[in-house]
Every structure is written in C-alpha cells, then in structure tokens.
C-alpha cells in the first residue's frame, strides 16, 4: 500500500510563522544590531520558517489538492482581473489628474477600478458553485464566513472609533481589503482544524 500522510499540509501556519519571524528579525536587526549567536538566531529563524513553508508546499502538492479544476478556473479568472484592477486604478488616477472630469464621466472614472474587483467577487462565487469536491467546498465556505465575520467586526469597531473622532476616516473600499485579510485567517483556521 502506498504510504499515506496522515497530517494535512499546514500552509497557513507556515506563512504566518515566516512573516512573523521575518518582521521580528527586521525589528531586532534595526533595534539591537545583534552579533554572534543572536545574529545567527535572527537570520536563522526566518530561514528555518521558509524551509518549513517549502516542506508544507511539497506536502500539499503530494496531497494532490492543487490539481483541482475549480481552483484552476478561479486562478485563471482572478489573476487577469487583479492585473486589470491595477491597470484600471492607474488609468483612473492618471485621467483624473489630467482632465479633472465632472458629471457622469467623473462617476464612471471613479467606479472604473471597482469593476475588476466586482469580477473577483464573481470569481469567488463561481469557485463555490464549480467546486465539485464537497469537503473542499465546505472549507471554502468556512473560510468565506470567517472573512465576512472579520470584516464586519473590524469595520464596525473602526466605524464607531471614527464616529467618536478617535481614528481617521478610511475609504469604504478597505472593507474588501479587510475581507481578503480575513481569507488568510480563514485559511489558518481551516488548516488548524484539519
């Protein structure tokens, strides 16, 4: 019998560990200029975390959950849409500065960068519809629910802090960015529960 790997890959914790150790190393380097053993630990921690991340990536490929039609279709849709978003944002800012539009043209130009992001939301919806593997679909649903909860908590708290003039105003499109950050938390929760 082919050997089974009983533990699923832990991409989320590995990414979080790598980011935390990397930023900690940058902070320690800036604040203390370590030498000797401390320098070794400062550099070694993120390198070790990167090694762990690579190992988890290898295990994930072995689990065979990368070769998935629905996820490939999502990537095929989301990557061009994100590139279109960067392009639309650049065009909108450039035209806004050059021609200072008014009326419907100004509204159209302002909404332009939002259109590819609406496309990304559509692609995420299609991922749920097209995912044939019910277990993977349940993981996506939990991830999206955690992201939605995270976004609601952050925007709610920030909104009241803003009302009482304790924090600066933040444009509403940040809700989408916060939701995407929540997807990261959702991945982490999925992997910790798996």
């Amino acid at each position: 019998m082919v050997e089974d790997s009983p533990l699923p890959p832990r991409i989320g914790p590995a990414v979080v560990t790598y980011v935390v150790t990397l930023f900690a190393a940058i902070y320690v380097w800036g604040a203390y200029r370590p030498a000797g053993l401390m320098l070794g630990l400062t550099i070694g921690a993120p390198v070790a975390a990167l090694g762990w991340l690579a190992r988890q990536g290898y295990r994930r490929r072995r689990m065979g959950n990368c070769d998935n039609q629905a996820q490939r279709a999502y990537t095929r849709r989301a990557v061009p849409l994100m590139l279109a978003y960067v392009g639309a944002l650049a065009v909108a800012i450039w035209l806004h500065d050059r021609i200072a539009p008014t009326g419907p043209l100004a509204v159209g130009l302002a909404v332009l960068p939002a259109l590819p992001l609406i496309g990304v939301i559509w692609a995420l919806g299609r991922l749920l519809v097209e995912e044939r593997d019910e277990y993977l679909r349940s993981l996506h649903v939990r991830q999206f629910m955690i992201a939605t909860g995270f976004m609601l908590v952050v925007t709610c708290v920030w909104g009241f802090l803003e009302t009482f003039e304790l924090v600066p105003h933040v444009p509403m499109y940040w809700a989408f960015v916060i939701w995407c950050a929540g997807l990261g938390i959702g991945t982490l929760v999925n992997e910790l529960r798996a």
Binding site: P6, G64, N65, R132, E134, Y135, L136
Partner: protein, 63 residues
C-alpha cells in the same frame, strides 16, 4: 460518526489516493472523512458504499 474506511482500504491494499481517485474526490477529502473530521453527504456516502460493495451501515456507524 465513526467509519471503517481505513480498515476497508487496508483490506484492498488501496492508498488514500487510490480511494480518492475511485470516488472522484481529493485525497484531502478522503483523509478528512477517514479521520472523522468531516461527515460525507448522503450522495457521497452512497458512492463510498458502492466502491466497497457494502451497505452504508457496514461502513459508517453513529457512535
């Protein structure tokens, strides 16, 4: 729910990947079902039963 997937696989000398291919699901799914972390839907439970040639209650038990 408890299940006998691991034993039934071992009897047939199938890996999780082999069973996943027969069920047309990911190996991750087979692992989650086998370890009791995910209860399959009724249609998938019927497919599992068909693959092993057993009734559902011979594979899954509610305790």
């Amino acid at each position: 729910m408890k299940n006998r997937l691991k034993v039934l696989r071992a009897e047939r000398d199938w890996s999780q990947g082999d069973l996943a291919a027969r069920l047309d699901v990911s190996r991750q799914s087979v692992n989650a079902i086998e370890t009791g972390k995910y209860d399959p839907s009724l249609p998938l439970a019927f497919r599992i039963a068909a693959v092993f040639g057993l009734p559902i209650e011979a594979i899954f038990s509610n305790d």
